[in-house]
């Protein structure tokens, strides 16, 4: 009898444990088959961004864009048009640290109150990528809007999305523009030692070599570095025509200013990450002729942009004025992310799986910089144009895209991407 009771007890315990672990798949021991909305009909979204650390400025911009998107939704009467069906964003600070990001990811997928429909973030690929398997295994959509790591989406199963082109594509395009369009053959490279910097450097160097150019110097720096004079002195000795920088926007400001200190005179190119109004504003005259790459220029007459700008000014008037009456590039991306998220929910994406399936079908969605479509790998299909800081007739410095460049220069063919 004792043996029977023991076996019965053990069996009950096994059933209980099995029951708990089964429910954990959906997060927080609670399967939400019909809707991810809470009792009030509101949807909760977790946002993981580096609010502290060297990439904090990017987090701030993305948050601004997301909040503008929410403002638009609020004006439209929330999801149901009658003031119900709110979206609530819960922000987490991953400090631009993979371990911190993974801890947050575990917390998000395990949470049942609130139950998160999806996760947005992080900023850096080095944080989004390690979290991809956590979200994938828990079957939570991960909208890593700025993740450009090439194997992020394959790793995330069917659960990851990105609004950025891959590092290999972006770096190859920049190399093609530099070498074949601008005709630069003596190039030096400066890059950050994070995952993004290391990979873009690798792909840029490979493409340059394919195009017959060996880089004069390739200098890596650590996160938090402030004084770049030693590597700039070294690069100056190689007498480059162009210095390509795969750096964060704060770093490019320091690098360009210190290049002046050591007397390094040449052309400068930054990646799309630093093609920002902040760089333009902080470099002043030193920024003139700086090259960058960028998606399509915002059409200021586009109703989507006009509405966005109005809401942006309503929420961030001081910032808008400070940035020479323009919206922040990463805020634009945050806004696009929010609009597409709203679209997916409104079109049936009310559970995690339905959201994932719906967002994957996004095609020609009217975003701030024109139509947004996801390719088969759930990554945005985007053209990148050569860009430059030029002085306009009023004497103001502005970022200007070479919008017609693709009519005469097939960058993807030159870069070996076709």
């Amino acid at each position: 009898m004792k043996k029977f009771l023991s076996l019965l007890l053990i069996s009950m315990m096994i059933f209980m444990v099995a029951g708990c672990s089964n429910g954990g798949n959906g997060g927080g021991g609670e399967e939400k088959a019909e809707t991810a909305a809470d009792a009030n009909g509101d949807y909760h979204i977790a946002v993981s961004l580096p609010f502290t650390g060297t990439n904090a400025s990017y987090a701030e911009y993305i948050q601004m864009g997301l909040e503008v998107g929410l403002k638009k939704l609020e004006k439209d009467g929330w999801l149901n048009g009658d003031g119900t069906g709110k979206i609530i964003l819960d922000y987490f600070d991953d400090k631009n640290d993979a371990t911190e990001g993974a801890t947050i990811a575990e917390k998000i997928v395990a949470s049942s109150d609130p139950y998160y429909l999806l996760e947005i973030g992080s900023f850096a690929s080095g944080v989004s990528y390690p979290c991809a398997t956590i979200y994938r295994d828990a079957e939570v959509p991960q909208y890593a809007l700025t993740c450009s790591k090439s194997d992020f989406l394959p790793t995330s199963g069917d659960w990851g999305f990105s609004l950025s082109v891959t590092q290999d594509t972006a770096a190859a395009r920049v190399a093609a523009y530099d070498i074949e369009y601008l005709g630069k053959k003596n190039i030096a490279l400066i890059y950050s030692s994070d995952s993004w910097g290391l990979e873009t450097c690798k792909y840029y160097t490979e493409t340059a070599e394919k195009l017959g150019v060996t880089l004069l110097a390739s200098e890596k720096y650590e996160d938090g570095q402030q004084d770049f004079t030693s590597i700039l002195t070294k690069i100056k000795e190689t007498n480059p025509e162009l210095v390509m920088c795969f750096c964060a926007e704060n770093d490019i400001v320091l690098i360009r200013q210190q290049a002046e200190t050591v007397g390094l005179e040449c052309d400068w190119q930054v990646s799309s990450k630093s093609r920002t109004s902040n760089v333009l504003q902080n470099l002043g005259d030193l920024g003139e002729n700086l090259y960058g790459v960028y998606a399509r220029t915002k059409d200021l007459k586009d109703p989507v942009y006009i509405e966005y700008e109005e809401l942006y000014k309503e929420l961030y008037a001081a910032k808008f004025a400070e940035d020479n009456n323009t919206t922040q590039k990463y805020a634009d991306q945050g806004y696009n992310c929010m609009l597409t998220t709203i679209w997916a929910i409104k079109n049936g994406g009310t559970t995690r799986q339905a959201f994932r399936d719906q967002l994957a079908t996004l095609k020609d969605f009217p975003g701030v910089q024109g139509p947004i479509s996801f390719g088969p790998g759930r990554r945005v299909l985007q053209t990148q144009y050569l860009s430059q800081i030029v002085r306009n007739e009023a004497g103001e410095l502005k970022w200007v895209n070479y919008e017609d460049i693709l009519n005469t220069f097939d960058v993807d063919a030159v870069a070996g991407l076709k």
Partner: protein
Amino acid sequence: MLLQILVNGLSQGSIYALTAIGYSLIYSILQLINMSNAAVFLTSAVIFYALYTSLTGSSIALTFILTLMAAGMIGYIIEIIAIRPIREKGDSNTYALISSIGVKTILEQICQGTFGSEIKQFPTLLDGKYIDLFGARTSAIQIIIILTTLCILGFMSWFTQHNRVGRGLRALSQNIRACHLMGMPVNTLIGISFAVGSMLAAVSGVAYCMYLKSISISVGSAIGNKAFAATVLGGIGELKGAVVGGYILAIAENLVSGYWSMSASNFISFGILILVLIIKPTGIFGKKEQKKV
């Protein structure tokens, strides 16, 4: 190239040295590593920026004086709030160290909250003026930083040797208990040492941002660690050790970055530190403590 690297190393070393003196000064009196010094470096630069852009307009001199006063007050307040209660209870310096780390975190968070995370232009002196020193392009601000450091070093030497308060600080570094018994205002003097350390961090923070022509919230983090390493390298508690340690560390870093790689410079500079600690644990100028039994 070598001369250019040495000039860059000297100006960077001056920044390390100024911050390191602050660490050393407090350690010599309380045997406490005051980690909040790095945050005062950042906070002072933020205060300078805020005052310059809002209140004092274009007067760099007035802004600088106000910043120094503010930094001194911050240092004094840190001692009263975060260190003195622990010290007066007779608790271990480990608690005070943890308390100073707490102050550092709080100050950094306040700076980020008020200043934001973006890089911003910082006012500088004699912008665009360069001197050719035997082929090394040297900016006016680099020369100002090096000369200022030497002047401050001279002043600190005079202050600790000939000034009444400075002599009091030296007396404290020898025996606090005896100073108490002699009726010296020990608490006030310790507060002053924190104020002086913070003012040195302020000079260094403002000078560094003037050199960079920019300010961002990450500006103090790297310098704090380097200055602390310089302090240990030169001999913790020794003012001249802090200065020499600062210059050695900065020049070594610049040489390694210039001739090898920037990533290796941390490895080398901290490698030198470990080597010195193994061979001479008291640092270059440090003296072995004789304990009476």
